[in-house]
Symmetry: C2
Subunit: 184 residues, 2 copies
């Protein structure tokens, strides 16, 4: 069973975080949410508080197959500025393990220097990340080990792409139908 | 400012609940989540625990403009079997206040006898609710004061429809673009 680590920081975008966790677990992936904050209860950009499974300080990143970062401006800034998250991103990339980021969170990947040839993000964030490799032609961009996506409305599609990569096309197709997300 | 009550019961579908709360709050609507359970922390169908704002026993339904029920099989069964939730549904309907339900939750509306001429729900739940008034032609069905929708992949569209009804088309259009949910 594949395992995915999802860090949560204050101001995370709730639809994005929950779509990732929900869809991956439906796909049979073991998802661990880990608070980057001092409290295990983390509150998102729209005031929704989620109880994380653990705190990032107590988690061993080597035990996970993939790292996925939800967006939300303030949460993404924390991912960009946290030494712990930055070193995790670099560690996953050096090991050629897959990394995902959606919405504002690709800024944390840019800071770590792991974006390859092409990526997407929430509109206007490409100005800070770099416009040369940016594309808005797709809801989800997979480039080598880096998967990026655009915002709340593409979060289910982003999660489905991760299921396809970690579990396979058959499970992906069944989930897509079961979620009623034919637009992905 | 419009106000919406969102009851949460164990086994709620997390993408649906969070899409409703998140999008409505983005639209300037005051959303109160209320646990139907004895604990204010409520765990969804995919193991995500949300801290509700209040408990249903302590909430005065007369203070709200709309009642919205997220899906998820077990949570919807609780809504169907709870005397408190059933009497709230009937109270909102008698006052001609809007009521929303997505996925499995329309079964609670059927139990209360408030479905009008047309509704939608998660595939196969129409067999228990009644196939005559069922349609799967749209992601969201608005019929008089009752708004219904199909599942996780239509939850943002469902919430956007509620924003359109309670706040207006301009806010709806701005949110739809901001959420990157052009498929709604």
């Amino acid at each position: 069973m594949a395992s995915v680590l999802v860090p949560l920081a204050t101001g995370f975008e709730e639809i994005e975080a929950v779509s990732i966790i929900d869809v991956l677990r439906r796909g049979g992936i073991q998802v661990t949410t880990a608070s980057v904050e001092s409290d295990q209860n983390v509150t998102g950009a729209n005031g929704i508080t989620i109880v994380a499974n653990n705190q990032l300080d107590y988690v061993d990143p080597n035990e996970f197959d993939m790292l996925v970062l939800p967006g939300g401006h303030d949460g993404a800034v924390t991912f960009k500025e946290s030494d712990k998250v930055q070193s995790m991103i670099k560690m996953f990339d050096v090991s050629k393990k897959p990394i995902g980021a959606i919405c504002a969170a690709p800024m944390a990947l840019a800071e770590a220097g792991v974006i390859k040839n092409s990526y997407t993000c929430y509109p206007s964030y490409e100005e800070g990340i770099g416009t040369e490799k940016f594309t808005d032609a797709h809801k989800v961009v997979v480039d080598e080990n880096i998967t990026t996506s655009r915002g709340p409305g593409t979060a289910i599609c982003f999660a489905l792409s991760i299921v396809k990569q970690l579990v396979g096309e058959e499970t992906h197709n069944a989930l897509k139908a079961g979620l009623i997300a034919e637009y992905c």
